[in-house]
Amino acid sequence: TTRTPEFLGLENNGVFLPESDSMTDVIIGVLDTGVWPESKSFRDTGLGPVPNGWRGVCQLNSSSCNRKLIGARFFSMGYEATLGPIDASKESKSPRDDDGHGTHTSSTAGGSVVEDASLFGYATGTARGMATRARVAVYKVCWIGGCFSSDILAGMEKAIEDGVNVISMSLGGGTSDYHRDSVAIGAFTAMEKGILVSCSAGNSGPSEYTLSNVAPWITTVGAGTLDRDFPAYVSLGNGKNFSGVSLYSGKPLPEDKLVSFIYAGNATNATNGNLCMTGTLLPEVVTGKIVLCDRGINARVQKGEVVKEAGGVGMVLVNTAANGEELVADAHLLPTAAVGQKAGEIIKEYLLTESNPSASIIFGSTKVGIQPSPVVAAFSSRGPNSITPEVLKPDLIAPGVNILAGWSGAVGPTGLTVDNRRSEFNIISGTSMSCPHISGLAALIKSVHPEWSPAAIRSALMTTAYTVYKTGEKLQDISTGKPSTAFDHGAGHVDPASAIDPGLVYDITADDYLNFLCALNYSAPQIYKLAKRNFTCEANKKFSVTDLNYPSFAVVLQTAQSGGGSSGGGSTVVKYTRTLTNVGSPATYKASVSPAAESVKITVEPDSLIFSEKNEKKTYTVSFTANSMPSGTNLFTRLEWSDGKHIVGSPIALSWT
């Protein structure tokens, strides 16, 4: 990626955050659409021999793998069993990436340094993965028709057997109980073997309860923006101008001439013609004009194709309420500017009231330093966690909007079959893009602290994440323009330099997770499916989901009518127990909690913890005493432990049901 290294503090004036020598021993396994091995991001310059103990294989030509791309496998039996044999004219029955998504995610996580990277001149810079010296192994489990759980399980099994240290999975599907969810089942085995599994949170935001991959042994990653923009401007015949974004790189519209402009909804006989769906625009009306299309239903780049096919010469793509002011740039096939909802409404008003509307689209160059940034992407899936509301998800956010990374040589940047352009890099958006940022950063931490468990690494990433800008203002949610909450950004935005030295971590063992399953009243067979061993929940032991040593707090309270908790005088008391492990020098940490509201009292006992040696563990209890609030009320605050040097932060979300 370009820009994210600087944005994340991995690189400052060309100087990289040092990667330890053991970095080259860390292997990132990426389950996705495969890999384009010829990408410069997989050059192995400067890397030593493949780590000892690597058991993977290269199912590409042997020359396609090297000391960077050390393994490549594909899993298609489940896919073919359902959809029939793979059509080799459409996709490769091999680990080769015909889609681009897998090359993008794997190069984001562990790609080598590539100078002068860009997409047709946009986002120019030196591209690099988060862990440039880590090794990458790819497991192709996703095909044109989707990613099937039998193939995903097979891919995860091989990744574990091959010896990866981190698994990156930018995919998801619905919400099932953990013992029914293949990704959760596979991730449990990986976690038991010390492998961190990082998954995308999903792109179903900004609605609440839209998260996927919410098992507590998975690191769930939401998406935020960078401080980079790709401006484009829409000039109307009435003299008004509006800012938008674009990655268009072809022949521009004439700058000194306005072109006829029309709303797609007025150039169609279809009820959904405003969306520029395939075959809905009338060429006799559209030809030679710029067309305004509403976002939704079909792919953004496909709308551009539809306009072009109908004879349109340009497109203005307008956000709806679902996207708000979030501007996602695409490498459209015709001159296009994407604009936010507010601008879109004004432009539509012009189109509907002006007798001969006209417009022009002007393209700018890449801009950096955009503030505020990061902001939570509108599409990023949101909490609460629908499976276990007492576990706060997503865990954190990372860059996932307009990310440049490696791309497949088999497909153009839009992914459309009519797109004959080719680029070594592409700019795309999604929690698919934020997930491998965290996977690569986890690999970076693993190299510095090889003895840390997956939970400890996640804890380090979460407790050092930030929730305020340098100005002191809270992180924003682009879908509302207001401060985002822990249901949007989890613990906050990743800060890798701090995560390497977190001071304290919240560690979790496999048995802790099994006790958590006991608290969820999982039956013995259900636990067996996750753990692959018999585990008996002790009959005389009291299990509580609130005792899982998670680095965040999701406090579920019940309204007065329905009772719950230990009540007294109209208030409810809920207690959470946590254990901190010192991974730094001896120090005394003091707790502080920002008040959530007058109606909620939060006490930490003890409020001071003295660590006299490394790996020492200390336990504390947080008590939440809350008055009843209307169902649906959410309050947010934060608990911090600090020794004056480190801040070990945990988000707190209080919800009344």
Binding site: D32, T33, F75, M77, G78, A81, T82, H101, C142, G146, C147, F148, S149, S150, I152, L153, A154, M156, E157, I160, E161, S170, L171, G172, G173, G174, S176, H179, R180, D181, S182, V183, I185, G186, T189, S200, A201, G202, N203, S212, G430, T431, S432, C435, P525, Y528, K529, K532, N534
Partner: protein
């Protein structure tokens, strides 16, 4: 009379590894025998040893139901399709 083929779908079959009858030499033999007892023609797509104990296969819903009732079978779950994010 005409025969209408009942559509099959892929299932993930979770087995209780420790319940393998001693008469089977390997777990694969046991899995295969269990599968053959509900369908002569069904074959395993994948046999899983690390991530789960079990296998994936194509069955009709009725065959899946029959398989689930056999000893040592923990669950027979329909395959899910995931999407890239």
């Amino acid at each position: 009379s005409t025969t209408t083929e009942i559509p099959k779908q892929t299932y993930i079959v979770h087995m209780a590894k420790s319940e393998k009858p001693p008469s089977y030499e390997t777990h694969s033999h046991w899995y295969d025998s269990s599968l053959k007892s509900v369908s002569d023609s069904a074959t395993t797509l994948y046999t899983y040893n690390t991530i789960i104990h079990g296998f994936s296969t194509r069955l009709t819903p009725k065959q899946a139901q029959s398989l689930e009732s056999l000893p040592g079978i923990l669950s027979v779950l329909p395959e899910l399709r995931y999407q890239l994010h």
